[in-house]
């Protein structure tokens, strides 16, 4: 197991000359940009970790002349707040990354879907956007970005629900296939990328893939921004090289009494103390979109689980059966077990239900409810029952 240790880096928030990087990017061909992304091994920073180069390659291969690059800024995963910081501090790199992606896939239009609660950032972002448009005009490149606001639904962070929302419809995930690269927003070929992914892509154009692969591990290249919260003396945003163990992370951010870390938010995994040392934070271990929540021994893991299930019961779009009803059953089930109204063995039935939700739900939301449920119930059964 490759272990890089915990290293703080400062690349994402590094101030750059966008003009210079973009001029360089626009001189590259679509194939060259995509090759650079493939060489870098960059995987999506929203959490799912799809290789960015592949996504761009698929979208570039589509014949339809009307294509879109969509920036997913609907940062809704509980415990994640890194995209907010990125948009606040280096939105020029977000816009720039979209233009680079646009060049790669052949899109002239970009849409940023901004989380509803971040609307206070909009005036500043509009000013940044204006100077961005001015700048690429000067470079002589045709690309246009617009902002669309979310309205607070967690599900609208799911790519196809996000498209529906942009189109003015109820935010509900679509059936796949077709995938967004074939039929995305307005049913046109679309590459949808997380805020941080686009910034990282900009960085890769600036420094080259060779530089990028010096960071991280084989499966998790580069660095990424973590949102650290919970029982920690130092909550906040930290850019760290990928490939550290949870133990190394806890050594840095814990309060000395950490009993569990929820990696990847409500849809992520709970890592208990006994597994800190053996668990790598990254795609080879526990992937995360950035959310790192630490819990010390004063916390009831029943309450943690209840909170997550409550969240999913509320934030499921309600469209598919496994997610809509499954969430309610998981929530009611743990409540009944806790109150002694159901036998503790009922948890086994719920574990099986969580498995079904993982393979039968329509979208990533329903499929990932089981992650938190199984890892918390699996590791802290006694706290759920007693």
């Amino acid at each position: 197991m490759e272990n890089k240790g915990l290293t703080k880096v400062d690349l994402i928030f590094e101030k750059i000359d966008s003009h210079e990087v973009l001029a360089k990017g626009f001189k590259m061909s679509s194939d060259e940009i995509i090759q650079e992304m493939l060489d870098s091994g960059l995987k999506g920073r929203g959490g799912a970790g799809f290789p960015t180069g592949m996504k761009w390659k698929f979208t570039a291969a589509e014949k339809n002349p009307e294509k879109y690059i969509v920036c997913n800024a609907d940062e809704g995963e509980p415990g994640t707040f890194k995209d907010r910081e990125i948009l606040d501090r280096v939105s020029n790199k977000v816009h720039g990354g979209m233009a680079i992606a646009g060049k790669a896939i052949g899109a002239k239009k970009g849409i940023v879907y901004l989380r509803g609660e971040y609307s206070y950032l909009l005036p500043k972002l509009m000013i940044e956007l204006e100077s961005f448009h001015k700048m690429i005009n000067e470079i002589g490149y045709d690309f246009n970005i617009e902002y669309r606001m979310g309205s607070g639904a967690y599900i609208c962070g799911e790519e196809s629900a996000l498209f529906e929302s942009i189109e003015g419809k109820r935010g509900e995930p679509r059936n796949k296939p077709p995938y967004p690269t074939v039929s995305g927003v307005f049913h046109k070929p679309t590459s949808i990328n997380n805020v941080e992914t686009l910034v990282t892509a900009m960085m890769i154009i600036q420094h080259g893939a060779k530089n990028f692969i010096q960071y991280g591990t084989k499966d998790s290249r580069g660095s990424k921004v973590f949102s650290v919260s919970g029982d920690t003396p130092t909550p906040g945003i930290f850019e760290l090289e990928l490939g550290m163990t949870v133990q190394q992370f806890v050594n840095e951010f814990g309060d000395g009494d950490t009993k569990a870390v929820q990696v990847g938010g409500a849809s992520g995994f709970c890592v208990p103390r006994k597994k800190f040392a053996e668990t790598i934070i990254g795609f080879e271990g526990v992937p995360t979109g950035g959310s790192m929540k630490l819990f010390n021994s004063s916390r009831s893991m029943y309450n943690v689980l209840h909170n997550y299930l409550d969240f999913f019961t509320e934030e499921s779009c309600g469209q598919c059966t496994p997610c809509r009803v499954g969430c309610q059953q998981l929530l009611l089930g743990v409540e009944k077990v806790k109150k002694g109204e159901a036998a503790s063995t009922y948890l086994n039935e719920l574990m099986k239900l969580a498995d079904t939700m993982k393979i039968a739900a329509k979208c990533g939301l329903g499929q990932s409810v089981g992650n938190a449920f199984k890892s918390i119930v699996g590791n802290f059964k006694e706290e759920i029952i007693y």
């Binding site: 639904a153 599900i155 109820r170 509900e172 059936n175 296939p177 999913f312 019961t313 509320e314 934030e315 499921s316 779009c317 309600g318 469209q319 598919c320 059966t321 496994p322 809509r324 009803v325 499954g326 969430c327 309610q328 059953q329 009611l332 089930g333 009944k336 159901a342 009922y346 039935e349 099986k352 239900l353 079904t356 993982k358 393979i359 039968a360 739900a361 329509k362 499929q367």
Partner: protein, 593 residues
């Protein structure tokens, strides 16, 4: 062609075919719930999940197109366990009072539960924790959210087939539900009462509002004289609820059964359909004369038919500026009702206050229509109770009538005679065909120039049909129409009606006369017809309708002896003062939400 294997059997299908359809080709049944042949794919119930080799998750076979080299397994342990969970989850949020439910034995969820025969329910019943709403406000149907399984068939029906969206998905997660605008009662929204959602609801969440008990009460009230009329489309569909295959004509048995149920007089809406042709055909010719000869700019063309109460409510909500284009003729049901308590009462020497007028309709909107305040021109409620085809089947079962083995019988006299032209009212294009058969003959003195009177261009399942009839050799009174080309159009299903209305609003509709029916296929696909429905079933009913027409001795409305008699004895002539009092109506503008 795409090659794949399902349960290790090879199959080749056209590109775009779903895994579900490919499996069907191999005679492998995959259970479904949210899937419906008439609607776009939803993929939300997840009952049809199957295992695809190499895929991380199970896939919804209804929503996944077959791909080259796919290896599908429909019955693995993984699939079975997941499917069992899914059906159980659905049952846990569904008020399963099956034996007390109106849809008992005709419920797709119940069938699924039966097929899987789970003994060991693991999950907790969620129904008691939910504040479910039962909306009984509509005169046509009841919406019981406690039985809703959120398959969204109704929502898709309302938007895709009917272009109304009176119901839509509201809220999310555990609170998600099918709701109306601002959760208003269904009686107070843009709903047309067409009942297409009722036809497609897999459970008892949407059912017609029944008036069976009221009708039994009337039948058993010795003071009441109960007359019943049967709409054209009922006779070609009723059999489906009584053990027959779709497309079986059961007219004679139905008449006998109605008599056995105790109705005092069994009469035919076909009679008033013929009457409608006389009134509406005359209205059209008068409008054409005023517009073409007198140059009257106040005349609204095209003229739209007015037989379909779902369509009427649609235009009242959505295109009220075109209400003057509607024929002022009441629907055949309401013409019949007005005459039952006037002409019929006089002929039979019965006090009209003692007459209870019942109609058997393929339609749920007719229940609303009968309740309209405009529909009391006899001095009473013209039609007291409207029963759907389905409700009639229930009554026949309740009465223990051995439908299959009873004799055929004929309608009673006075408003019981009909022609083939009236029967075809039940299918899209039928009113148009019937009107042309009569109007052409009035104007030219000759039969319509189509073989065996079958005006084929106006028939069939195409959403919008157009035809042009050249009028030649006019009789003296109608010389002004010589050489004119009568342009007509026919639409069925309100999404198609909307196409015509949009054209009309844009001034691009070149038609003189347009027939619109709210339901797909016309009344044969009405919201009160036996469940299930799909294109094949509707086509079979349509075929039966035209067969019924072919078998009629009289096939032109103006030849109906009862119609000739009523003008002689009572109404004087089409569009007379008396006709206007009893057989014509007006419309109201309604809000569009």
């Amino acid at each position: 062609m795409i090659n794949l294997t399902i349960n290790d059997q090879k199959v080749s299908v056209q590109e775009g075919t779903t895994v579900l359809a490919a499996a069907k080709k191999l005679k492998i049944n995959i259970p479904t719930l949210c899937n419906h042949d008439d609607l776009c794919v939803a993929g939300n119930c997840r009952v049809c999940i199957v295992e695809q080799k190499g895929a991380r998750t199970l896939i919804a076979s209804c929503a996944t197109p077959a791909a080259e080299g796919m290896e599908i397994h429909t019955n693995t342990l993984k699939v079975r366990n997941a499917r069992k969970h899914i059906v159980e989850l659905l049952l846990s949020e569904h008020r399963a009072d099956c034996t007390k439910c109106y849809k008992n034995q005709n419920c797709e969820l119940q069938k699924l539960a039966n097929d899987f025969a789970f003994g060991d329910h693991v999950f907790f019943d969620l129904v008691e924790n939910k504040k479910y709403n039962i909306d009984r406000s509509s005169p046509s149907f009841v919406k019981d959210d406690s039985k809703c399984i959120r398959c969204q068939r109704c929502v898709r029906t309302c938007s895709e087939l009917q272009y109304i969206s009176a119901i839509a998905v509201a809220n999310k997660g555990a609170h998600q539900k099918i709701s109306s605008f601002h959760n208003r009662p269904m009686s107070n929204v843009v709903c047309t009462n067409c009942g297409q959602c009722v036809n497609r609801c897999p459970t008892g969440a949407l059912v017609e509002k029944t008036y069976i008990d009221q009708v039994w009460d009337a039948i058993y009230d010795p003071d009441k004289h109960v007359v019943v009329q049967t709409a054209p489309a009922v006779r070609v569909a009723l059999g489906e609820d009584l053990g027959y295959d779709p497309g079986e004509r059961v007219t004679g048995k139905m008449v006998n059964a109605l008599r056995q149920l105790g109705f005092d007089s069994v009469l035919d809406t076909d009679f008033s359909a013929d009457l409608t042709i006389m009134e509406e055909g005359t209205e059209l010719l008068v409008r054409l004369k005023k517009a073409l000869v007198d140059g009257d700019k106040g005349i609204s063309l095209p003229m739209f038919t007015s037989c379909s109460p779902g369509w009427i409510k649609f235009i009242e909500h959505k295109y009220p500026e075109f209400l003057p284009n509607l024929s002022t003729c009441k629907s055949p049901q309401q013409m019949f009702g007005a005459l039952a308590k006037t002409f019929y009462a006089r002929k039979r020497n019965i006090d009209p206050s003692k007459i209870v007028s019942v109609s058997i309709m393929p339609c749920t909107a007719k229940k609303f229509e009968a309740d309209r305040p405009e529909m009391r021109s006899s001095g009473f409620k013209d039609v007291d109770y409207v029963l759907t085809t389905r409700e009639l089947a229930v009554m026949i079962k309740q009465a223990g009538i051995d439908f299959r083995n009873i004799e055929e019988a004929n309608y009673d006299s006075i408003m019981g005679d009909s022609t083939g032209a009236a029967v075809i009212f039940g299918a899209t294009g039928g009113v148009m065909e019937a009107a042309l058969r009569t109007a052409y003959e009035i104007v030219t003195g000759r039969e319509v120039p189509f073989g065996n009177l079958n005006i084929t261009p106006v028939r069939g399942m195409e959403g919008v049909k157009e035809a042009t009839i050249k009028i030649e050799g006019c009789v003296e009174a109608w010389k002004f129409l010589e050489g004119a080309e009568l342009k007509v159009a026919i639409a069925h299903g309100l999404v198609n009606a909307n196409k015509i209305m949009k054209m009309t609003r844009e001034g691009k509709a070149p038609y003189h006369f347009v027939e619109i029916m709210a339901c797909p296929g016309g009344c044969i696909g009405g919201g009160g017809q036996p469940i299930p429905t799909n294109l094949q079933i509707r086509e079979k009913r349509m075929k039966a309708i035209y067969a019924e027409d072919e078998h009629k001795e009289l096939r032109k409305s103006h030849m109906n002896p009862d119609v000739i008699a009523i003008y002689k004895e009572f109404l004087d002539q089409p569009n007379s003062h008396k006709s206007h009092d009893l057989l014509h109506t007006h419309y109201v503008e309604r809000d569009n939400f």
